[in-house]
Amino acid sequence: MAETTYIEAITQAMQEEMARDERVFLIGEDVGGYGGAFKTSYGLIDRFGPERVIDTPISEIAIIGAASGAALMGMRPIAEMQFIDFITCGYDILVNFAAMNSYLFGRACPLVVRGPAGGGTHGGPYHSLNPEAMFMNRPGLKIVAPGTAYDAKGLLKAAIRDDNPVLYIEHKYLYRRIKENLPEEDYIVPIGKANVRRKGKDITIITWGAMIYVAADAADELAKDGVSVEIIDLRSILPFDEEAILESVAKTNRVIVLHEAPLTGGAGAEFAARIAEKAFDYLDAPIKRIAAMDVPTPYSPPLEAAALPDKARVLSAARELLDY
């Protein structure tokens, strides 16, 4: 069986769900004839027609708003942000309208908003966003961020089948850089479940998205020194798998929370706080957070590399924990 890239996994998930369920449709900028800015929806319009692969004006409020309205009517829209950065243009309607349907009105709003996120591609400050934290404190959404092709496909299918609005954050650095053999049969990855990517006993790294590879590189390096690292790929940011986090911390007693978004007010702060509250007695050292600098993601490669977290910073944090 052919190996599937991360981006192909996303395309497959959309295609299979659209074939399985006629309520599923895609709406966004340049998603139709052009096949999406990254070709994520390439070929979908040929198979499903312009009624189900809808090109829109440059209007993120309209895209998310219209998708939300259609979702209330029983459709299952996938709203694409050309870059996830532009979700800020539709932030209001997503958090104030879409996200509140269940709690305020008992209305199912089975909406997926997805788009390419993350840095490392020299996209500059407006094409590198990691948006999860700005949505975590607005209850009602679910947030997922796959780091593998398997999870990209399984989580997108789960998101499409979910009765609530789901923010699906895909990491564009991974689009064509990773691939793996995927199952032939239909599968989903349940929202809210972490994946222990690597078992270890000395240090836990809690991370997600493209950072799982930075964590893995650091873990390989540490293994040479006989240090065994456990990597928890959260995959779902909200709701998140608290049990998996606490279980791992209870075992390793040392923890690094690693993410690509800026440090201050980042999602990692919540996970660190949860560990401090619920697993303090298990800790042998302070919780470490590794994240981007508190700056917009700069464009030029040396600046970008300096701003984003890397293996060296994870290693130095790990050594501090071991020496504590």
């Binding site: 209007s59 309209a62 708003g65 309205g69 209330l72 269940s102 305020l104 009602g140």
Partner: protein, 330 residues
Amino acid sequence: MSQLTNEQLLEIAYYLRLTRTLEERLVALFRQAKVIGGLYRSLGQEGESVAAAYALDYKQGDVVQPLIRNLGAILVAGAKPADVIRQYMAKGDSPTRGRELNIHFGHPAKDGFIGQISMLGDMIPVMAGIALAGRMQKRKLVTLAFIGDGGSSTGAFWEGMNFAAVQKLPMVVIVENNGYAYSTPTVKQTLLTKLSDKALAFGCNGITIDGNDVLAVHDTTKQAVENARNGGGVTLIEVITFRMKGHAEHDNAAYVPKELIAEWAEKDAVVRFEKLLVERGVASRDELDAIQKRVREEVDQATDEAERSPMPDPSHASRGLYIEDGYWNG
């Protein structure tokens, strides 16, 4: 004249009276501190609210979306007065179970109406999406959205209108020009003298009419609705009317010139419509009085029901964030 039958004209008269009487009751409850949040009056705007909503065919699945001053529209669509009072009183068995205020409630597929959210303009793209879903589901439904002179300044309004127009969606938008957005007069919202000229920007149909002429509002809306249903796309209807009270009950509207209030009081849509019914022999004064009596009894009964309703159970505050919680099924 309108193609409305005498029976329909009397039904409109009923809804006009129901709206006004229900609101007067809400004022009384507000003064008794039984309304928990703010109270927003539609006095002066009942005519266009009822008349426009009456142009929809709810059996076809049509959906109306009110703003805060369109209580009459959701009553026409089937909202229960007792539920409206429960919403204002923050009761546990209100449609939102105490989570949201006033006429912010309703399900487009189940109720034929969906309440606004407080961010003005956001409902325009949402209503476009409801129309889009209807078309995808091969239904002939039309959506009717209300927005104001102030709301039509928002980016969401422009994006939603443009998208709906490009997609030729079956949608009608009533822009209520009621003179003020909170304290800001329309001249500070836009340099346009006719808000229907905004339709030019979208390439859709636009028309300005007298919002206090019930028959004109109904007939114009009806025509736009049927045009939309038949694939004619979006129509923007500006209705010229006037907000006879402040933004909410706390606001004495001292910024509105008294002469304007007096001038518009003379043009009251309810009085004008009833006068027309009498002149045309559709109803006698006695018959109109009977409608008023019936409405008062209904509002009395609705008030009793709502007052007996319990407040929400605080242990439910964490429930229902996600659909699978099952909270709303129970």
